[in-house]
């Protein structure tokens, strides 16, 4: 029976030139990296490309990872979130220059990947959340995705972002508040007004 290697061991073996060690890291984390990218870019195609680019960046910067500073997964999710933010920013600039209207573009791979059974019953609400997250400022978006979907602790996010826990908390509060108000407004247009 083969023993499951730790992330640290796989990183060390990759740095020693073992290609299959990196392949193992890819298998271990590709889905989470893709999910992070998808929730920020909100496009399957773009998220797949971003995942690929994140792993190339990861490979090149592997020797700079310091296990005493952050867990490998935390470090990787931050890399993924930053890269996805860059992609999102670039797309937004393109959209502005092309004067394209509409907040969330239609995702061509979505129908191919989605089975009807997996559709959530409150899809309109989820779409509302997506639009709201798309409108959040960069740091709020990043903190929102890392906290709610990658389930990183606020201290971990503060450590990898190099900012205070207070800044991270404020970003999360504002992002969550925006989502809650938007959802409340979508049910009752008069609701969601500041208390």
């Amino acid at each position: 029976m083969t023993r499951l290697l730790s992330d640290e061991e796989l990183v060390r073996e990759t740095l020693e030139g073992r290609e299959d060690a990196f392949s193992e890291l890819y298998d271990r984390y590709r889905r989470q990296v893709y999910a992070t990218s998808y929730r920020i870019t909100q496009s399957s195609e773009e998220a797949l490309d971003a995942t690929q680019e994140v792993f190339i960046k990861l490979y090149r910067s592997l020797s700079t990872w310091n296990p005493r500073k952050a867990k490998f997964s935390t470090w990787l999710y931050r890399l993924a979130a930053n890269h996805a933010i860059d992609c999102w920013r670039a797309r937004r600039r393109r959209a502005e220059s092309e004067l394209v209207e509409g907040a969330v573009e239609r995702d061509p791979l979505r129908d191919a990947f989605h089975s009807p059974q997996r559709e959530v019953e409150n899809r309109e609400k989820v779409d509302e959340v997506k639009r709201c997250v798309d409108d959040l400022p960069e740091l709020q978006k990043k903190v929102f995705v890392l906290r709610y979907f990658q389930e990183l602790k606020l201290e971990e996010i503060a450590a990898i972002e190099g900012c205070s826990i207070g800044t991270v908390k404020t970003s999360l509060f504002r992002g969550t508040q925006a989502v809650r108000r938007r959802l409340a407004r979508s049910i009752d247009p008069k609701a969601g007004v500041q208390k």
């Binding site: 690929q52 990947f113 609400k125």
Partner: protein, 140 residues
């Protein structure tokens, strides 16, 4: 006794991120805070329902093949490769700037000689080391 908790405090308690331990008992008695907390919980439930489209296994496999091919074409990241890369950089600097490079080498030799003699106390072990060291110092 706190009359009401803020939305932020209620959120921290919901997330289990070191919120006030008194929140749970307060929520049982306070309908207003309980309503806000309930609304927050509903919002978080909707957020959690945001699923990610599944990617077929063959797409991942094709992406993996492309990734590994890309990495094989990239410069190696092994320690020896990075060391060789560093040495190549030093060598090209030396070729482009021979005089400063010679100066650095001479300074390094002088420093190393002095450290070797003083740290290992060679001057006490070998007769005449002090004289050799003095000559070396004058030459350099």
């Amino acid at each position: 006794v706190k009359s009401h908790y803020t939305e932020d405090e209620l959120l921290l308690a919901l997330l289990g991120e070191g919120g006030d331990p008194g929140v749970a008992s307060h929520l049982e008695e306070c309908p207003s805070c309980s309503a806000v907390s309930g609304e927050l919980r509903q919002a978080l439930d909707v957020v959690a329902a945001w699923s990610v489209p599944a990617v077929p296994e063959e797409t991942w496999e094709a992406r993996r093949v492309a990734l590994m091919a890309n990495l094989r074409a990239a410069p190696s990241i092994t320690l020896s490769a990075r060391l060789a890369e560093g040495l190549r950089g030093v060598w090209s600097y030396a070729l482009e700037n021979p005089l400063p490079a010679l100066g650095y080498v001479a300074a390094a030799i002088a420093f190393a000689s002095e450290r070797t003699i003083t740290v290992f106390r060679l001057d006490q072990i070998l007769p005449g080391t002090n004289e050799v060291f003095e000559i070396l110092r004058q030459v350099l």
